[in-house]
C-alpha cells in the first residue's frame, strides 16, 4: 500500500514535470515567427521598383541616405499581385552612373543572393561619386523561384557627399586606379576600435576587389602631432576587405594614414581618413 502510494506520487510528479517542460517549450518557440514580415526600425526605405518580367516588386532599404562610400543595401521582394513577401529567388544588382557623355559602374558586393535568412537580399555598393555628377541607378535583376520568372528593374537613387570623406580614389604608383573605402569604425569610441577598409580597383568597366595587398595604418592627432600605440594593421579577410584595430587614446580629430603595399613594395602612402570622436 505504502509502496503503491509512493509509486503513484512519483509517476504524478514525473508527469507534471514533463508537462511543465512541454509548456515551456511551446512558449519559447512561438515568438519567432512573428517577426517574419517586419522591417527593422534601423532600415530606411530608399525607393521601390517593379522587377518587370519576374512578377515582383523590390523595396530597397539602407541604414542611412546613400553617400559616397560603403553602403549596405537590403532588398525586400514582394509578389506584384498578392503583395506577399517573397522568400526564394536569385538577386543581383549593378549600380550605374550616367554622366551624359559616359556611363560607369561602381564596386559592388552581393552578400546574400538567394533564399536570404531574414527575407532580405543583401548587397553593398561603394558609390564613388555623388549624384551631383550625374544620375545613379541601381539596376537589379531577380529570378523569382516562386513563379520561375526572371526580370530586371531600375531604381534611381540619390547619393550625397558625406561631410568627412570615407572613400578615396587615386592612382597608385603602379598606375592602378584604386578605391579605398572606410567601413569601420562607423561610430568611433575611445580606446580600441575595429578598423575595416575595402580596396577595389578599376579594371576596364569592372571594379574587382583587391585581395593581395598589405595595409599599414598610423593614427595621429594632427593638431597635436601625437599618435597612439597598440594599433593592429588591417589584414585581408574576404572580398577586398581588410580588418584591423585602431586605438584612439583621446577624443577629437584623428587622422589615420594608410600605407598600401603590393608584394612588399609600397604603392601608395598618401591616403588617410579623418575620424572624429
Amino acid at each position: 500500500m505504502k509502496f503503491k502510494t509512493i509509486l503513484a506520487i512519483t509517476f504524478a510528479t514525473i508527469l507534471l514535470a514533463t508537462n511543465a517542460c512541454k509548456k515551456e517549450e511551446t512558449t519559447t518557440v512561438t515568438p519567432t515567427p512573428v517577426i517574419v514580415d517586419q522591417i527593422p526600425s534601423t532600415y530606411k526605405l530608399m525607393g521601390e521598383t517593379y522587377i518587370l518580367g519576374a512578377a515582383a516588386k523590390a523595396k530597397v532599404y539602407a541604414e542611412k541616405d546613400f553617400f559616397v562610400g560603403y553602403n549596405k543595401i537590403f532588398v525586400a521582394m514582394f509578389d506584384s499581385v498578392s503583395n506577399t513577401r517573397l522568400t526564394d529567388g536569385h538577386f543581383d544588382v549593378i549600380p550605374m552612373m550616367d554622366m551624359g557623355m559616359m556611363k560607369h559602374s561602381a564596386p559592388v558586393e552581393i552578400t546574400e543572393e538567394s533564399i536570404p535568412s531574414d527575407k532580405f537580399w543583401k548587397a553593398a555598393i561603394v558609390f564613388i561619386m555623388p549624384s551631383s555628377a550625374g544620375k545613379w541607378t541601381l539596376n537589379m535583376a531577380f529570378h523569382n523561384h516562386k513563379t520561375d520568372k526572371e526580370g530586371e528593374g531600375e531604381l534611381e537613387v540619390n547619393v550625397i557627399n558625406p561631410t568627412t570623406s570615407v572613400m578615396k580614389s587615386f592612382i597608385a604608383s603602379d598606375s592602378t586606379k584604386l578605391f579605398v573605402t572606410l567601413i569601420q569604425p562607423t561610430t568611433p569610441k575611445i580606446g580600441l576600435n575595429n578598423f575595416e577598409i575595402s580596396i577595389h580597383k578599376k579594371d576596364m568597366m569592372d571594379f574587382p576587389a583587391v585581395n593581395d595587398y598589405t595595409v599599414e595604418i598610423e593614427p595621429t592627432m594632427p593638431s597635436m602631432g601625437h599618435g597612439s600605440p597598440n594599433n593592429v594593421n588591417p589584414v585581408f579577410t574576404s572580398m577586398g576587405h581588410y580588418v584591423g584595430k585602431v586605438n584612439f587614446t583621446m577624443t577629437g580629430l584623428w587622422n589615420v594614414k594608410l600605407t598600401l603595399k603590393k608584394n612588399g613594395v609600397t604603392i601608395d602612402n598618401k591616403q588617410s581618413f579623418d575620424i572624429t570622436l
Partner: protein
C-alpha cells in the same frame, strides 16, 4: 604662574601652553600621556624640534617641516611643497591629517595634504620614519600625521583669541588670521580663519619668478561636546580655498583648489587617563583645476580638472599599563579619484581624455603596536599592520581607454600588505641606543597604476600607468644613539634600507607623447632592488643660560640595481640655529648649508646642484598686559640675497632671495 613665565611660555609655544598647561582638561591630557613611556622618544624629539621652530613664527607648515631632520620638500613653486621623508615621497609615505586619509586631487602633486593646513592650526606633527610609521597605514617610507587644534575645554570665563598678521617683502605677501576658542560646561568651540595672498616672489639677484603668486583662504571650525567626564564628541570642519596658485616649475598653474574636510570623533578617556578609545568618521573632498591661461607658452588651451573624495573611519584603542603601552587600531577608507583633460584646438572638436580614469580604492587595515619597559633602562617595541586593498576603474570611458592598451582596469586589483617593525632600546649612563628592524610594503599609487599620459616636467616624459605593478617592499635597519647630558644632547641615526620591486619609470619605445613638446612616453616597472642609506644627527646645546644652539644634519644615498642613483635624493644638509632668549626678547640666527649633489638620476631628468649656504635672522619682542600679550617679530631670510636652488627644486627655479618679513601677534589667553 608669574607674568614672566607666562610670556616665555607664549613665546616658545603658546599653543602647547593652551593645550597642556593651561587647559587641564581630559581631552588634551592624552597628548602628554605617552611621555611616561621611556622608549617612545622618537616623536617627542620631533615635537620638541617642531615647537622650537614653530615658536619662531614661520609662515607656513612647510617652513616648519623642512627644518625637521629627515624631512625634505620637493618644491614646484612658492606654494604646495611636497614633503618627503628621507627620500621617500608620494605613495611611499603616508600623510594623514588628524589620522584621516586624504588624497591630493592633482595628478601633478600640486596639492599634497599639507597644503590644506595652516600653521596656526597645527598642534602636533607626528613623524615616524620608515616602517615604524605603520600604525596609520601601510608604508615603506614612514608617516607624517598632522594633528590640528580642536575646540578645548578650560575654566576661563572669556574666550581665548589669537590674531596675527604677517607681511613679506620678497613676494609682497599678506598673511592674516585669527583663532577663537570658547567654551561652556558642555560645549567648546574653536574657530579660525587665515587668508594669505602673495605676488610673484623675487629670487636672489632681484630676479622675479613669474607665476609664483598665490591666494588662499582657510577656515576651521571645531565643536566639542562633553557627554560626561570621560566621553567627548568632537566635530571638525576645514574649508580651504586656494586660487590662482602659480607653479613656476610646471607648465601650468592652478585656477582653484577647494577642499572640504569633515570629521566626527568620539573620544573616551578613562578617568585615570590610561585608556583612550578614539573613533572617527570622516569625509573629505577636493576639487582642483589647473590653469594655463596665464602662460604665454601655451600652444593650445586645455582644462585639467581633478577630483578626490575620501570616506573613512578609524577606531583606535590605547591602553597604558605600568610598564606597557598597547595600541590597536582598525581603519578603513574608500577613495575616489579622477582627473580629466580637455584640449581646445582651433575649429575642431575638443579633445578629451581621462588622465586619471575615475577609480575607487578601498582599504581596510588592522594595526597594533606594543611597547614594554623591561626595566628602567631597557625597552622593546613592536608594531604590525595588515592591509587589504582593492582598486578598480569605474568610469566606462577610462576603462575603454585602457582597453585600447589591452588592459582591463575594471577588474579588481587586490593586495594584502604587511608593515611591521621591531625595536630594542637600551640606556647606559648618558647613552641611549636603539636598534630597529622593519619590513614594509606599499601600494602602487593610482598614478603609477592607471595614470594616462601624465606629463612629468622633471624628465619631459608622459607617463602611463602599469596596472600590474607589484607593491614595493623594503627591509630596513636603523641604529640610533642619543647622548643626553644636562647642557646638551646629541642624537645620531644611521639607516639602511633594502627596497625590492622598486617602482621606476621606463621609456616605452615607439610611443608618441601626448604633450606637445614631450620627449617620449614612460611607464612604471618594478626593478629588482634599490638601496637607501644615510644618517641624521640632531644636537641641542645650552651654551649659556640664555643661548640655545639647535642643529641637525641629514644625508641620504640611494642606489638602484640598474646602476643609476636614486632620484630626488637631497644632498648633505645642515640646519644650524642659534637662539638668544632673554625674558621676552628673542633673537635667532640660522645657517642652512647644503653640499652639492652630483649623484643624480639621469633618467628622471635630474641635473647636478651646486652647494649653497644661506643665513636667516629673526627677532621677536613680546609684551604682556594682564591676560593679553603682543608679539612682534621681524625676520630676514636669505640675508645675503643668494641666488640658489635646492636639489629637490624642480625646473631649475631658484629659491626666495632676501626676504624681510614682519609679523604681529595678539593673544588673549
Amino acid at each position: 604662574m608669574s607674568k614672566k613665565n607666562l610670556i616665555i611660555l607664549v613665546l616658545f609655544s603658546y599653543v602647547q601652553g593652551f593645550t597642556q598647561n593651561n587647559f587641564g582638561d581630559t581631552i588634551n591630557k592624552t597628548t602628554s600621556l605617552k611621555e611616561v613611556i621611556i622608549c617612545d622618544s622618537e616623536n617627542n624629539k620631533i615635537n620638541e624640534a617642531f615647537n622650537f621652530y614653530r615658536s619662531s613664527k614661520l609662515a607656513s607648515t612647510e617652513d616648519i617641516l623642512q627644518r625637521i631632520e629627515g624631512v625634505n620638500l620637493i618644491r614646484r613653486g612658492a606654494f604646495g611643497m611636497e614633503p618627503t621623508l628621507r627620500t621617500y615621497s608620494a605613495g611611499q609615505i603616508n600623510i594623514t591629517l588628524n589620522g584621516m586619509k586624504m588624497y591630493g586631487a592633482c595628478t601633478d602633486k600640486m596639492d599634497p595634504v599639507t597644503t590644506y593646513v595652516e600653521p596656526s592650526n597645527l598642534s602636533k606633527l607626528e613623524v615616524n620614519q620608515g616602517t615604524a610609521g605603520g600604525l596609520l597605514g601601510s608604508t615603506i617610507g614612514g608617516s607624517l600625521n598632522i594633528q590640528l587644534k580642536e575646540a578645548s575645554f578650560n575654566c576661563k570665563d572669556h574666550p581665548q583669541i589669537n590674531f596675527y598678521t604677517q607681511y613679506g617683502f620678497a613676494n609682497l605677501s599678506k598673511n592674516i588670521g585669527f583663532s577663537l576658542n570658547t567654551n561652556s560646561n558642555k560645549f567648546a568651540l574653536r574657530m579660525s580663519g587665515a587668508y594669505r595672498k602673495a605676488n610673484d616672489y623675487k629670487a636672489g639677484g632681484d630676479i622675479t619668478i613669474l607665476h609664483s603668486g598665490y591666494e588662499k583662504l582657510n577656515l576651521n571650525f571645531s565643536v566639542a561636546y562633553q557627554l560626561n567626564k570621560t566621553n567627548h564628541i568632537i566635530f571638525d570642519y576645514i574649508n580651504d580655498n586656494g586660487s590662482n596658485i602659480g607653479y613656476p616649475a610646471l607648465p601650468m598653474d592652478v585656477a582653484f583648489a577647494k577642499a572640504n574636510i569633515f570629521s566626527v570623533t568620539h573620544r573616551f578617556v578613562s578617568s585615570n587617563y590610561n585608556k583612550v578609545l578614539e573613533t572617527k568618521f570622516y569625509h573629505n573632498n577636493i576639487t582642483h583645476a589647473m590653469d594655463d591661461t596665464h602662460r604665454l607658452e601655451t600652444i593650445m588651451h586645455m582644462d585639467m580638472p581633478s577630483w578626490s573624495y575620501t570616506n573613512g573611519f578609524y577606531s583606535q584603542y590605547k591602553i597604558q599599563l605600568k610598564k606597557q603601552l598597547f595600541n590597536v587600531r582598525i581603519d578603513a577608507h574608500q577613495a575616489f579619484t579622477k582627473a580629466e583633460m580637455t584640449m581646445y584646438p582651433n575649429n575642431e572638436k575638443p579633445m578629451f581624455m581621462q588622465t586619471l580614469p575615475g577609480n575607487f580604492l578601498y582599504n581596510i587595515g588592522l594595526a597594533a603596536n606594543y611597547l614594554l619597559n623591561i626595566d628602567s633602562l631597557k625597552c622593546i617595541g613592536f608594531n604590525i599592520r595588515e592591509d587589504y586593498n582593492y582598486q578598480y576603474v569605474t568610469d566606462e570611458f577610462g576603462v575603454l581607454q585602457w582597453q585600447g592598451f589591452g588592459i582591463n582596469t575594471n577588474e579588481n586589483k587586490q593586495n594584502f600588505l604587511t608593515t611591521s617593525s621591531l625595536f630594542f632600546q637600551i640606556k647606559k649612563g648618558v647613552f641611549t641606543n636603539k636598534f630597529t628592524i622593519g619590513y614594509g610594503q606599499r601600494l602602487p599609487t593610482s598614478n603609477e597604476r592607471i595614470g594616462f599620459y601624465l606629463f612629468n616636467r622633471a624628465d619631459g616624459f608622459d607617463y602611463i600607468g602599469n596596472y600590474n605593478l607589484a607593491p614595493e617592499k623594503a627591509i630596513q635597519m636603523e641604529f640610533s644613539n642619543t647622548i643626553d647630558k644636562k647642557k646638551w644632547n646629541f642624537n645620531t641615526t644611521l639607516f639602511f634600507h633594502q627596497i625590492e620591486n622598486y617602482i621606476y619609470g621606463y621609456i616605452l619605445n615607439k610611443y608618441s607623447p601626448m604633450t606637445i613638446g614631450g620627449r617620449g612616453v614612460k611607464t612604471y616597472a618594478n626593478i629588482s632592488n634599490a638601496q637607501l642609506m644615510g644618517f641624521e644627527t640632531a644636537a641641542t646645546f645650552k651654551l649659556l643660560k640664555k643661548i640655545i644652539y639647535k642643529g641637525n644634519v641629514r644625508f641620504s644615498y640611494g642606489l638602484l640595481s640598474n646602476g643609476q642613483f636614486m632620484q630626488q635624493v637631497p644632498p648633505l644638509k645642515f640646519v644650524n640655529t642659534l637662539r638668544y632668549q632673554k625674558n621676552t626678547f628673542q633673537f635667532q640666527i640660522e645657517h642652512v648649508l647644503a653640499s652639492s649633489q652630483k649623484n643624480i638620476n639621469i633618467d628622471f631628468g635630474e641635473s647636478k646642484t651646486s652647494s649653497w649656504q644661506i643665513f636667516n635672522a629673526r627677532v621677536a619682542f613680546a609684551k604682556a598686559i594682564k591676560t593679553s600679550s603682543f608679539q612682534l617679530n621681524i625676520g630676514i631670510e636669505n640675508l645675503l640675497d643668494l641666488n640658489y636652488r635646492e636639489h629637490l627644486d624642480w625646473g631649475g627655479v631658484p629659491q626666495f632671495g632676501r626676504n624681510v618679513s614682519i609679523g604681529f601677534n595678539y593673544y588673549l589667553n
